[in-house]
Symmetry: C3
């Protein structure tokens, strides 16, 4: 993949060498990500951080990543403050803003919106989440976290828990894991929230072994990495059934101490809401806040690659 | 006009030499406007980008222009997040913020608000739109676009189409065109949306030839520049009549290819909403997105002039 | 007090030497606060300016202070755009953002929220107002203003007027004044809005002389400093009584010219709303706008101290 000038719309575009290149650069950028070292390689450059759907943390993560390298950030939050609310097409909005800034991050509630934006923009567009579509930089930081926490991604047994049907971060990470060797995947979800059939077929076709269960204890048993997500009550018709099912996929300390490996790495895209107990927070493998923080070096790496920044300063 | 420390409230303050000075500086700033060259002449300076009425693009344009020169930007969007909503006067709000920052851009729904702000502020205030009043930097970038697209402004035949009664960008551009020689103006609008009588009188007094018509084909025939605006349905009482009239002022490819000059320059302040067809976009004279982008160098030039930036770096 | 890495949650943490250190640094930073001198000691650093409750001026003041020293600012405004609205705890939100940025300013409607944030954050947290709790940087800039306007704080007679029960700026400033010598305090308020009993007891215990009255003329008579606040009508059950009482605590020119000392310093945390007449604005002692502007150097000083900035550049 030629990164300079490219758009980041879907994880499908990444082959393993692309991932390794991003992660190597992210690793080198870590001292800059935490403000320990300073650089202004993005001096005079401006990011259009366009969040037509609210997501404070993702927005702050992209914005901070850009500021850390000396760039400037212009932000918009919410559709109501935009000309989209006056009937302008997304294409027109992006065409105008693309002429102001050097790179665009777009979060928008509609599936395919990032592709529409990338098609009209001359500058790189990063998909910051297009509704039920993708949020590729999240998958990148998830994978980067596995590598950073465990030293490697190959030969990992990764268990996904919760809403595997609608959870777009799950879909993207599953896709990226197929680029590695010796991956085993376990899937633990209520019947109605199973990983979509097309994705299961795809795993089969690629020869990635996976198992499905609705027993959380069984699912965490052999896991190296546990990827938790939230099961939303509103996904179920019957409230009593909802309460029972949501409760059956709560990950807590008792479960992990008694049923999981000692060196389990625990991930969660956050926010959590009752699905991952706070009593897990001080386990050494509780990596979900570090995972969130890894968004900074990973997004710095993306900006550097897309904008063709000379990384000889590192 | 002495720019240093001045306010930009109305286009009436600009004489031709002022316009030429702004445009010459904007031209020199173009490489900085697109991030090709870097400067930090505004290092340590802060813009108060105050949008008490939403306008994402105008806000991002001012903000980006300031960031491109190394300054910092603090932004507020919407009245509901301000102490104006607690009953504070605009004068008090501006007096406080004026003591924080070095220059203020104010967009506010009330006519005359920018003048109120300029009267209390010690630092320069730029009117970013005061309701039915003016939006002078839009007129400047409109005029700059004509010069950039055609090489000169003198001897231009400019046709305005659409809502000429309420369109404040039309009023300001008409006013500025009177500073040039050999200007001919055509006005095409529904009867109820004609250019205000006072402005027509003023054109007569200044000896600027102009013609009025409600026939779009006639109006575009001799035009060098076509300035399109949106006719809003809500301006008419009768919905059937509204649909007919709005439809009669839609500019599309068929109209331009068959009835306009080959080298016609097409402008629009955007957003468009059915009034300018997308099939016009790939005509070579379709300059409306370039026009929007010209907001960056023009606003950079304004900041430099008002803040007394030494332009010897150019 | 060891400032480096500390949190600013309550004025109770400040002893007199701490205040003197902050004010000395703020004084040295004044040329940078107004953009006269430039520094980039905060280059590569990022402020998380988190306003989960709206307060445009306070937000812009903190943001501008950080920008003036070369740092970058990421902002959030309002709860509705945050994952708090999805049920995430404040602790989780802060833990995530703390991993992005170098320092956090938090405004949040709940009492104790700043303490919660400081407990989970590794970086410094500044309380920008926690509902009915404190807003310590306001008290610091109030006190700094007294020193700057009058040359000293010792031996001042300070009169507080208005809502002394709910006015958190009053409580914090009263607390800080007890660190100085020769302070005399007058309190003028409606009976139902008296300074809380615990605070009056505390003044007694510390041996600070104070007098209470509901006669405004009496209250301003011996004052060196008049600290005005707003009496809100909604504090009273009876509307007629409300109108009478609010009206009885309006500070205007007539009152001050006829009943106060000539060199009276007039403060107000702003916004005002009928409680402080505009005809006072051109009295030489009308210091409330200068007071607001002092927020910049005081907050710059706090950032420098908390982040361990080497102040040898001054």
């Amino acid at each position: 993949m030629e990164f300079k000038g490219a758009d980041i719309i879907t994880v499908k575009d990444f082959e393993r060498p692309d991932l390794e290149r991003i992660f190597a650069l992210a690793h080198a950028l870590e001292p800059y990500a935490c403000g320990e070292k300073q650089s202004d390689v993005l001096k005079g450059k401006v990011l259009g951080n366009l969040f037509f759907e609210a997501s404070t943390r993702t927005r702050l993560s992209f914005g901070t990543a850009f500021l850390r390298l000396g760039g400037g950030v212009e932000t918009t939050v919410g559709v109501q403050f935009s000309s989209l609310s006056k009937g302008e097409t997304l294409g027109d909005t992006i065409t105008v803003i693309d002429g102001y800034v050097d790179v665009i991050v777009l979060r928008h509630p509609e599936l395919g919106s990032a592709r529409v934006a990338a098609d009209v923009a001359k500058h790189p567009v990063i998909n910051g989440g297009d509704g039920p579509g993708e949020h590729p930089s999240q998958a990148l930081l998830d994978l980067y976290t596995i590598e950073k926490e465990r030293g490697r991604i190959d030969d990992s047994h990764v268990t996904f828990v919760g809403d595997l049907r609608y959870g777009r971060t799950v879909h993207s990470l599953v896709e990226l894991l197929t680029r590695y060797d010796g991956i085993h995947i376990s899937l633990a979800s209520p019947e109605s929230l199973r990983l979509p059939r097309a994705m299961r077929k795809s795993l089969e076709n690629k020869g990635i072994p996976f198992t499905e269960t609705n027993d959380l204890k069984q699912a965490v048993k052999d896991a190296d990495v546990l990827y938790c997500t939230r099961v939303q009550r509103e996904r179920f018709e019957d409230p009593t059934e909802a309460a029972r099912l949501v409760g059956a996929y709560v990950v807590d300390r008792e479960l992990l101490v008694n049923h999981a490996k000692d060196d389990l790495t625990i991930l969660h895209p956050l926010p959590r809401h009752g699905d991952l107990s706070e009593d897990v927070d001080d386990l050494p493998g509780a990596a979900y806040f570090r995972q969130a923080h890894n968004g900074i070096p990973v997004r710095m790496a993306l900006f550097c690659l897309l904008m063709g920044v000379d990384s000889s300063f590192l």
